[in-house]
């Protein structure tokens, strides 16, 4: 490591240090989450109280208030921001960057420069996406899946003009950022592990980040090609996705393409994307639950196996988003089969978490609470996947609010809770200070109550047949009786939104005013807690420590049944003691 003098710009802005880049990702992610979350409140107000006028809506959306175009723009950008900018970049970008070098024992990422480029491309794409919200032509509004022809033809809807172009450009840059990140993570994990850090001694966080990066590398380029072809159709008159179109009184020249091709390309990323979001959260949860249960994670190898199984299966199930597109029913059968298989590794993971809690000595700090909450929400959301993954059942609930409830629980809320767990747990590593616990508790309980209050009742609106992305139900007396449920959902959503202010206050004040952290505040085994509290470039002042054991030797007993050295944890840097068996 070269020890050149750091200026403000090289230290805080164009930093190549993975820990600083992680913080940049986190703070950008938080800002994007605030924007995306705020949008959801605006459209929830519309759904819960369609006839009322809200000054807040008029303040943000202009005098005419909520219109169908604006409504669809809000749901589109909310989805895009939350899925890609918060839960992909904000989650994976933050914790992969922070933890990979620290937990495998490396001075930095394989390429600090690429890492910096990756962040700044992400920043640029975020900026373009945010700008696209405010342009006069209207933001992209064809849904976050941007299915053509709706997204391809400017005459099909207001948002399919400049807003859509900006969306595509932003996503293309985002994908480049994500690919650079993924390459870096994979190379770093495979090549830069410290002495003794065998693959079978990696913490589950690292396994999750590694596999996530691999899925991202396989699937994101496909979305890039899908976006480019869509750009061609929009701008250069090609017909990849378009054929036989008559719109606004005229026949367009497009011939021979099919929007179904776009759906295949989109979901070839889109489904693995769910696991790109979820796996890092599961990795974080594994680490936080094990260290706070003071117990080894149950079934370490089974956990790795199930991560790999999920990753493999995730690339061959994309068709379950397309059961009702008219694709060959036989193909539908195959996708039903592969989709329902994912329930097996998922069940293994859930039961392993529960067994880890069993007979533990649970330290219920905010990180731990969020992890347990994550497991609970993951189960609640995952189970309804049995309905949606089954082609015959999907027919009736496809594209209804039931789907919205399902995926918000299983990947939205659960990944968000995993992210919070990570922030509370590794805050001392990021900023050298502690977050306030009591605020953390309040934040957790209100968040999980609000999350269930929003998304559990939502299943019932879907089972009542209410389609998603309806600006208003006024045209359907059939849905009149759903209004009370929608109001409850909206109230919980607003509570849930306000509660996040507690987190924001706690986070930003603690950066400057929090209590100084000790070196290993959670008494954890992993390597990151052997670095000094005041983070330094290169992570360890002297030699990088050598690793002698797996990371989950919590409450290990000697031959007499006593704790080794009277401590309920044994860091990875402690050599195997005389008479001790390596697990």
């Amino acid at each position: 490591m070269s020890h050149h003098k750091e200026t403000f710009i090289t230290k805080y802005i164009f930093s190549q240090d993975h820990k600083m880049i992680a913080k940049q990702y986190l703070i950008t992610g938080i800002i994007m989450a605030v924007i995306g979350g705020f949008m959801s409140m605006l459209f929830r107000l519309q759904l819960g109280f369609p006839e009322q006028h809200f000054t807040i809506i008029e303040a943000f959306l202009g005098k005419e208030g909520m219109t169908p175009d604006k409504y669809m723009g809000l749901v589109t950008i909310h989805g895009t921001i939350m899925v890609f900018f918060v839960l992909t970049a904000g989650l994976s970008g933050t914790f992969s960057n922070l933890l990979i070098p620290l937990q495998i024992g490396s001075r930095d990422m394989a390429s600090g420069f690429l890492n910096m480029i990756s962040y700044w491309l992400f920043f640029l794409s975020s900026l373009i996406m945010v700008i696209s919200i405010f342009i006069h032509a209207g933001m992209a509004s064809a849904g976050w899946t941007v299915y053509p022809p709706l997204s391809a033809l400017p005459q099909a809807m207001k948002g399919s003009g400049l807003g859509m172009d900006l969306w595509l450009v932003s996503m293309a840059i985002f994908i480049a950022a994500s690919l650079l990140g993924s390459l870096n993570y994979i190379v770093t994990v495979l090549n830069l592990r410290t002495k003794g850090m065998k693959m079978t001694r990696l913490p589950l966080t690292i396994w999750a980040f590694l596999i996530t990066a691999v899925i991202g590398l396989i699937s994101f380029p496909v979305l890039l090609s899908a976006a480019l072809l869509l750009l061609f159709d929009r701008s250069f008159g090609t017909s990849f996705y378009l054929s036989d179109i008559f719109i606004q009184g005229e026949v367009l020249h497009y011939q021979g393409g099919s929007p179904i091709l776009f759906e295949h390309l989109f979901w070839f990323l889109g489904h693995p994307e769910v696991y790109i979001i979820l796996l890092p959260a599961l990795g974080i949860t594994s680490e936080v639950i094990s260290s706070n249960a003071r117990k080894p994670i149950f079934g370490y190898r089974a956990m790795i196996g199930s991560i790999m199984a999920i990753a493999f299966l995730s690339t061959i199930v994309w068709g379950h988003h397309m059961f009702v597109t008219g694709m060959n029913p036989f193909l539908g059968s195959i996708f039903t089969f592969t989709t329902l298989l994912i329930a097996i590794p998922s069940a293994v993971k859930a039961f392993n978490y529960i067994t880890t809690l069993w007979k533990g000595n649970l330290q219920l700090n905010p990180g731990m609470l969020f992890s347990i909450g994550m497991v609970s929400v993951f189960i609640s959301g995952g189970l309804t996947g049995l309905v949606l993954g089954d082609s015959a059942l999907d027919i009736n609930v496809h594209d209804t609010m039931f789907v919205v409830a399902h995926f918000h629980l299983v990947m939205g809320v659960s990944a968000l809770l995993g992210m919070f767990a990570g922030v509370y747990h590794w805050f001392p590593k990021m900023f050298g200070r502690m977050m306030n616990k009591t605020l953390g508790y309040i934040h957790f309980y209100l968040t999980i109550i609000a999350a269930y209050g929003v998304f559990f009742p939502m299943h019932f609106t879907g089972l009542a047949g209410l389609p998603r992305r309806y600006f208003s139900n006024a045209a359907f007396p059939l849905f009149d009786d759903l209004l009370p449920i929608n109001q409850v959902i909206t109230i919980f959503a607003i509570i849930g939104g306000f509660v996040q202010l507690i987190f924001l206050a706690n986070f930003f004040i603690s950066i400057f005013k929090g209590k100084k952290a000790t070196q290993n505040p959670w008494r954890a085994n992993t390597l990151e807690w052997t670095t000094p509290v005041e983070a330094i470039h290169g992570n360890w002042p002297g030699e990088i420590p050598t690793v002698y054991r797996w990371p989950y030797d919590y409450s290990k007993r000697d031959e007499n049944g006593n704790l080794w050295e009277g401590k309920d944890y044994t860091p990875q840097t402690v050599p195997i003691r005389q008479g001790e068996e390596e697990f």
Partner: protein, 354 residues
């Protein structure tokens, strides 16, 4: 209810403000969770579990039950889907209740305590095998039953049941329907033929198209006769969704898609279904209250709601997506034939116009 939410919210805000003051004053906030905190959190987690169970039970048996689609499906195929759904839902509920209990109860029971030590229990092949094999067996059953149902409802090529052919045609933001006529074959069509009255672009040179009948706003179906629907769209993706039949298929510009359903109950019969009666009464109570407000403001009251089968658009298709619907009337075959005979064919309409 609302008052309660606001009380909770304000309490939280007050506590937050207090903590922020403490935080700013850098008062002690120990890193290690104390025994007292573990105790409080253990109990609060039990409380969270009770909240979750209450929410689930409330919506399953009270708040959410009456709004659901009627348990009786409107089509024969829908009944198979419903059976599969009931089985899946039963499984989901059992697993949900049991696993959530384990998560929260273990959190409560094993909440930290300085005197306690955690067990060192890192692996067990027996347990791992148990919860790999159990889901595998259960899922195999679910997959087999699911695929059987799927092949049943996706059967559009079987001509044995002597189906009738109907085209559902989607455009921003309206549905149209076309009947195959006496020859029971739909004529070819393409958007390039759209002109004047021929809004669906039917190729009038195709002999099969001569007797095709087109309708707007409402279409009829015969009870007990299999109907093969052919879907087309002229502009963007739409989705033909008939929730009471448990039927849905996307309409894809540039290609045709198909589904087949057999209406099992006429509209009149469905209106007598106890679930429908309960739902309609609930809706009309809400509408009556709204009407009172409207009348007080000097506006016209709302019409009372009466049950009808509906076709609605379930794929985002533009600004009018939330308005796109068509009424379906299911009636006995004799009535259906009478209705269809009263409609002019497209050819007749076009000739009349010239």
């Amino acid at each position: 209810m609302k008052a309660l939410f606001f009380i909770i919210l304000f309490t939280a805000i007050a506590a937050t403000a207090w903590q922020i003051v403490k935080l700013l004053g850098l008062t002690k906030n120990n890193q290690i969770v104390t025994k007292k905190e573990n105790n409080i959190n253990g109990w609060l987690m039990l409380g969270t579990m009770i909240f979750l169970y209450t929410l689930m039970i409330y919506y399953m048996f009270f708040g959410g039950r009456d709004v659901l689609l009627p348990r009786q499906a409107g089509s024969l195929e829908g009944e198979h889907i419903d059976n599969l759904f009931k089985m899946t839902l039963g499984l989901i509920l059992v697993v949900q209740f049991v696993t959530q209990f384990l998560v929260y109860y273990f959190t409560f029971k094993y909440r930290g305590n300085v005197d306690k030590k955690a067990a060192f229990f890192a692996d067990s092949h027996k347990l791992e095998l148990f919860w790999t094999i159990t889901p595998t067996v259960v899922l195999s059953a679910l997959i087999i039953y699911g695929l059987w149902t799927w092949s049943l409802v996706q059967d559009v090529t079987n001509k044995k049941d002597n189906p009738i052919y109907i085209e559902l045609y989607a455009k921003q933001f309206q549905w149209e329907a076309r009947y195959a006529g006496k020859d029971n074959v739909l004529g070819e069509a393409n958007v390039r033929n759209i002109k004047g009255m021929n809004t669906m672009g039917v190729d009038m040179n195709d002999p099969y198209a001569k007797d095709d009948i087109t309708v707007l706003h409402e279409f009829h179906l015969p009870k007990g006769r299999k109907v093969v629907f052919q879907m087309r769209s002229q502009d963007v993706l739409h989705s033909a969704y008939m929730p009471h039949f448990r039927a849905q298929m996307n309409c894809v510009p540039g290609s045709k898609t198909y589904m087949a359903y057999t209406p099992a109950l006429t509209t009149e019969e469905m209106r007598k279904n106890p679930d429908i009666i309960r739902k309609v009464n609930g809706i009309n109570k809400i509408r009556a209250e709204k009407s009172k407000e409207l009348v007080a403001k000097g506006e016209d009251p709302l019409e009372p709601y009466e049950f009808d089968y509906l076709l609605l658009c379930n794929k985002i298709c533009g600004a009018g997506h939330y308005n796109m619907q068509m009424k379906i009337v299911v009636e006995d075959e004799a009535d259906f034939n009478k209705w269809l005979a009263s409609k002019k064919t497209l050819a007749e309409k076009l000739n009349q116009n010239q």
